[in-house]
Symmetry: C2
Subunit: 78 residues, 2 copies
């Protein structure tokens, strides 16, 4: 079995409404000093041994991420 | 400025409908060998220097995560 963590984040310049909402909510709750909140996705995959990083990259491009507005990073977990 | 990455995942045993949907969609697209897909959140915080890990933990408990159904891990990014 292999495990992969995928980190999916909005590309620079793409507005992140959930992050902006969380940031103003933190401010309203009295947490000072938070300059930026960006909310992305952490996807944990468990796969068969024959699934390699290239195949996971294809999964990201075809389904798990939106390459037009999102960046993704793949990490194999040992 | 400090940067923190927060990794928020569903607790063990909590059903993750988005992950289950992604898993069956991968299967429908012909990607074999994916045994599990879990979708959590990656939150990137940028804060003032005086915001420490304890304060970020409080932010998670009060707003950013739902401690009843989610686990979270805080990592300070150097």
């Amino acid at each position: 079995m292999r495990k992969y963590n995928l980190y999916i984040t909005a590309k620079k310049g793409i507005f992140d409404p959930a992050g902006a909402t969380a940031q103003s909510a933190l401010d309203n709750l009295g947490f000072a000093g938070v300059n930026s909140v960006k909310i992305g996705k952490l996807i944990e995959l468990e796969t068969a041994d024959e699934v390699n990083t290239d195949m996971v990259e294809t999964m990201c491009k075809k389904l798990l991420a939106n390459p037009i507005i999102e960046d993704f990073r793949i990490e194999e977990v040992q």
